[in-house]
């Protein structure tokens, strides 16, 4: 593990990352959140395939997909792609 830089002298010679971006909680950027209706979900995993931020998680084959709300930015692509209309985008502020 490398320590976080304190001055410009500590920067690597080329701009690269030293930490996983999992620590960067981009979920706070979201204004609308995807909510999966398990009654309608057929577990086709098209949402998992299309999510641009790897924020739809499937533990193992056959499981229902879960949304990683720590990182989902609420772009709505999953809801748009879902062939069963099982995903609705709900306003964050009302929650």
């Amino acid at each position: 593990m490398v320590e976080a830089p304190k001055t410009y002298k500590d920067l690597p010679s080329t701009p690269i990352t030293f930490f996983t971006t999992e620590d960067n909680k981009t979920g706070t950027w979201r204004t609308i959140r995807p909510v999966i209706d398990k009654e309608k979900c057929t577990r086709c995993y098209i949402c998992w395939k299309f999510c641009p931020d790897l924020s739809i998680e499937v533990e193992k084959e056959g499981d229902y997909p879960n949304v990683d709300y720590d990182h989902c930015k609420g772009c709505g692509i999953c809801a748009n792609e879902c062939p069963s209309n099982a995903i609705t985008m709900e306003k964050e502020m009302e929650k």
């Binding site: 001055t7 410009y8 920067l11 690597p12 010679s13 080329t14 701009p15 690269i16 990352t17 971006t21």
Partner: protein
């Protein structure tokens, strides 16, 4: 081994000798014969690395940035519109700290359509952060490419280099070129060994988003490392001289300047003309000096400041023009040698653009004009366009 060849072929031989790992190129006049020669070497199995013909110069530079991230020594060559099309990725190569070496066969941009020698393409890339080295002749083109890898790949530098040869004047003109032995080059130029490269066992993101609180610090590092490069350029030139017996002054070469009355600063193939005219004029008792600007970035301002103690009048010859002001070299040189206590008078001469012949007679005109300014003690006008059909009949 001495062979007669163009500067473009000399560049291709340098790339072969440097054992470049990835070459990506797209043809454009007058660069094409560099990439054609390399393609020919590649199909004959003479190259150490791989050659890729890509769909544009933008792709060529993008591919090299990726290849360099993977740890390969990289090369491309371009000219004019091709260099302009790369513009975006030139910044990326610098920010990503990739020591790519690129031959730029300097040429004008249209319209009117023109394929000939001019410095407007390279001058337009001044602010990208690339190091820029001009070449006077074919031998220097080969030697500068070898030196450029050594400078760029130094772990304290890690910045890309443009090696600039004048379109057609060098690129398509045959001269004797001494091709060094592979063993000697291997000894001078060790394999590329970057501190950080793509490693599937240690995955990282390269060049990702950096927030405003750290972005300037990365830019500051580049600014400081250009200063490190300044020292390395001189060191590598000296090491090259010890090994191969040839030196190009590193940053600047002062020629016939010791007792000169006036001096002319210029870059590229016209330096050879200026040196010859200077020699001839000295035979007639006219003490004129030549300052060869080998390195344009990092800019050798400190070295050029010595001119204030050497001569009262300095001319700057430009092969390009910054509309609404003057020549690019002129503004840099005048700013660089500025001395609030006085210093030399500076005048700009513009010519030899778009392949127009710049003859010894034109060069002599400049030196005579500088001697006149010295006698009169003042600069009559800031910029003089040389050999323009202005109806005066003086050309």
């Amino acid at each position: 081994m001495i062979e007669v060849m163009t500067a473009n072929y000399a560049a291709a031989y340098a790339v072969k000798l440097a054992r470049v790992g990835v070459i990506a190129a797209y043809p454009i006049t007058p660069q094409s014969s560099i990439s054609e020669k390399l393609a020919e070497m590649y199909v004959k199995g003479e190259l150490h690395g791989k050659y890729f013909l890509v769909e544009s110069e933008h792709s060529a530079m993008s591919m090299l940035i990726g290849a360099s991230y993977a740890g390969a020594r990289t090369f491309t060559a371009t000219s004019s519109h091709g260099l302009a099309l790369m513009h975006e990725m030139l910044f990326w190569a610098v920010g990503a700290r990739r020591p790519i070496v690129m031959a730029v066969v300097a040429r004008a941009l249209a319209p009117p359509w023109n394929i000939w020698g001019d410095h407007m393409d390279v001058m337009s890339e001044r602010d990208t952060g690339w190091m820029q080295f001009f070449c006077e002749n074919n031998q220097e083109t080969l030697d500068t490419i070898l030196m450029a890898y050594k400078i760029s790949e130094n772990r304290s530098v890690m910045l890309p280099s443009m090696v600039i040869e004048d379109g057609f004047i060098l690129s398509h003109t045959y001269e004797a070129v001494d091709i060094p032995d592979q063993d000697e080059v291997d000894d001078f130029l060790p394999p590329f060994d970057p501190e950080w490269k793509i490693d599937f066992n240690d995955p990282r993101r390269f060049g990702g988003l950096t927030m405003p609180d750290w972005w300037s610090e990365f830019r500051y590092r580049i600014a400081l490392d250009q200063e490190v490069a300044r020292k390395k350029i001189v060191e590598v030139d000296k090491e090259f001289e010890r090994k191969f017996g040839r030196s190009y002054g590193g940053l600047v070469e002062f020629y016939n300047c010791d007792d000169a009355e006036v001096a002319l600063v210029l870059a590229g193939s016209a330096v050879g003309t200026a040196k010859e005219v200077s020699d001839k004029m000295r035979e007639r008792g006219k003490k004129v000096g030549v300052v060869k600007l080998k390195t344009f970035r990092p800019f050798p301002a400190e070295e050029l400041k010595k001119l204030n103690d050497m001569v009262p009048v300095v001319g700057v010859f430009d092969r390009s023009y910054t509309f609404g002001y003057g020549g690019a070299l002129y503004s840099e040189v005048r700013n660089g040698i500025y001395d609030p206590a006085g210093g030399a008078l500076v005048k700009n001469y513009v010519g030899g653009m778009g392949g127009k012949d710049f003859t010894p007679k034109n060069m002599e005109f400049i030196f005579e004009d500088l001697l006149r300014i010295k006698k009169e003690g003042k600069v009559d006008k800031m910029v003089e366009w040389i050999n323009i059909k202005d109806g005066t009949g003086r050309w």
